[in-house]
Assembly symmetry: C2
Homo-oligomer: 417 residues x 2
């Protein structure tokens, strides 16, 4: 057993190294049903104007504003999808339903509540204004308009826009496929009896939830086998179909650690230690060549990434936030890979670590127009309770200064209260 020979890298520099080596994944065409949550790979330009015709916003009568106060002959009805083939000339009107085409000749729509109907004639109010109660062609979107930018996630309004333009498929980036594995001789499956010195594997489930939230497709590899050969085979097989390998545990310097030697044998380890608390043993490698069993699958040879996360639960989730989540978002083409931040007032004295950037977990509480950040208690790397229910992460720079209660800092928002 000896101390690690990997250089201790600055946390921000390490995060940049990871993103620099992260590819944006290939583009695929998906149907609208498969598109929710995906990220546009191309700008969306409107092929035509919306609405394509003057569409009534209400139920009522399409008339000429010049006929205000008149009693008008009703020519027929223009319902949604059933336009009326008639011209609304002086002294005439067309019954119209919401979404119906405003017939040629008419320049406004009068609401049903505002007219008096008597058989086949209708009396309209004394004051009418042209252009009211219908959506003019191109009022919502003009033909050729730049509607959505690549890098935009397809939420409800964005997907609705794509569909309203008549597009049945949309170009998005592939979702990253991630093989997930826990390592550690102390691990047993949750639900199985744990002997002396054993604990249930929790990182796999925590990381599964984190990966799904980040948009990944996850393949669960379970707990790593003890034997280096069996482990190497399992990982090589998984990497034939995965873009990313995520492991937890087995990256500190002990004699039984398997992950760093494995990654060294499969590719290039760029990061082996970072000045980060928690998360110092974070490991990152690129695996550039496809293993033999991956040939012939027609997969574009994009760089594959391996993240060796530390074994302590909080360390594994904090390094996921700092390094893995931004990388997974870059792979999907997100314009914005980092979480949003908000200014918050510290409600406690945050002591700094001497030589590592510390990510402290806080809850947020509204106080008038601002948020006050309170610590979630002991920030031990094994204490998941410090992260459960946390609203934000506060980054404390290394040194002997810390940040005093009352100061305002930008917090990384996990979930608003």
């Amino acid at each position: 057993m000896k101390a690690s020979t990997y250089p201790l890298l600055d946390a921000a520099e390490a995060a940049e190294m990871v993103l620099d080596r992260t590819p944006v994944l290939a583009v695929e065409q998906v149907t609208l049903a498969d598109a929710p949550g995906r990220v546009l790979a191309e700008d969306v330009i409107a092929p035509a104007s919306l609405p394509p015709f003057p569409a009534s916003a209400v139920d009522g009568y399409a008339v000429r504003a010049a006929d205000a106060g008149g009693t008008l002959r009703v020519l027929g009805e223009s319902a949604a999808g059933r336009p009326l083939a008639a011209f609304v000339g002086p002294g005439t009107a067309a019954r119209i339903l919401t979404g119906g085409v405003v017939p040629d000749g008419a320049d406004c729509v009068v609401m049903i509540e505002d007219v008096r109907v008597d058989g086949e004639v209708v009396t309209v109010p004394d004051h009418l204004r042209a252009g009211t109660n219908f959506h003019a062609p191109g009022a919502d979107v003009r033909a050729g308009e730049h509607v959505l930018a690549r890098g935009t996630q397809l939420g409800p309004a964005e997907l609705g826009l794509v569909a309203s333009l008549g597009l049945a498929r949309v170009a998005v980036h592939r979702r990253p496929s991630v093989a997930l594995m826990s390592t550690g001789d102390e691990l047993v499956e949750a639900g199985k009896a744990a002997g002396r010195g054993q604990i249930p594997d929790s990182n796999r489930w925590a990381l599964l939830a984190a990966l799904l939230e980040a948009g990944a497709v996850v393949r669960l590899l379970g707990i790593a086998p003890d034997q280096p050969e069996a482990l190497r085979e399992l990982v090589a097989d998984a990497l034939a179909e995965a873009d990313v390998l995520v492991t937890s545990g087995g990256v500190s310097v002990g004699t039984h650690d398997l992950v760093k030697p494995l990654l060294e044998s499969l590719g290039t380890v760029h990061i082996g230690r970072v000045k980060l608390k928690p998360g110092k043993p974070f490991t990152f490698a690129t695996l550039s060549s496809l293993p033999p069993s991956g040939e012939g699958l027609g997969r574009v040879a994009e760089a594959r990434l391996a993240f060796g996360l530390p074994g302590f639960p909080v360390s594994s989730l904090v390094t996921f936030e700092v390094f893995v989540r931004p990388a997974l978002r870059k792979m999907q083409g997100f314009a914005k890979v980092q979480r949003p931040t908000l200014p918050v007032r510290l409600g406690y004295d945050a002591r700094a670590s001497a030589d590592r950037t510390e990510y402290q977990r806080v809850t947020l509480r509204r106080d008038g127009q601002e948020f006050v950040a309170e610590t979630t208690g002991s920030q031990s790397s094994s204490r998941l309770m410090s992260l459960a229910g946390a609203h934000a992460l506060v980054r404390i720079p290394p040194g002997d200064q810390g940040i005093k209660a009352g100061e305002v800092v930008d917090a990384i928002i996990l979930a608003l209260p």
Copy 2:
């Protein structure tokens, strides 16, 4: 064609009526693999302490603090999952790896970087402090501790906690199953040629994305058939397996509207119009009795809900936000059913609607320590561009006051910038 006979309800009152009639769905046990994003139906109490044994936080040597400065005989190694059956008495030490059990007798761990090793003896520093570099039993969670509350969503840390307690299954509420249908004679499928007066159906895709984000399981029913009998059969069949029916379009007062009569025939329509802009024709019904084809499925007879959303795209998404999303979250057992709010400074004069609460769509921009809300432009009910990329909704009370630029209001946050 005549004006609606449904009373115009206050928007907040209508939202309360919906939630009052929304059931919390039944409890089911799911595996950890199926648990991400689900909502706890029961409190989680720790059956045992975590860690269950004194676990080393580092690689190094487990010693007695009283032996500071000494040269100690190494008894063997305590690795993670492989405890050392030895007692660390005076003058002795145990090699220990991260996660390993601190052997009886030892009261601190010295990091590998801080010792000098010479064969089977190790020299430790002059100053040692008992209790350092290991996690004491119960330091993370005490047996019997209230760890997570019912109503909590299982995110990464929460699911990790559940697993770390050794639980292999967890009690959560069922996800709501939602049948989704668009209505309107003007609708064609996106990708198909649209004739005069026709438009592609966009609401189904926008609502699909919104429903999935809200945690629903969605069954797509397509565009409703023209004929009342065919429509009734389709809906009755779908409701045999769905908790919720969501339709868009066909709820205003025109002669071709099908949804209100359908819902009246299947159950009780509680809401037919609301003082909401956009979204006045919003319709809500409860469907209390299972249709014939739904018998014998063993489903608990929970109340089923029907939401008739307006046909204009922005109206359908705004009424989804105001009425449907909170209901779907209540069904899943969420402690918090509403979106978070943030104080924002209005960057524009928000004019009010005379008699309806208006939900205006805004983008947010950081300005020092605060957010400034800017309008997304024309707030027409058909203009999805007013909602695409919007960060928040600002609620403008009815009347002739409006809200002036510079005033601070609480905005409903859709996505932080």
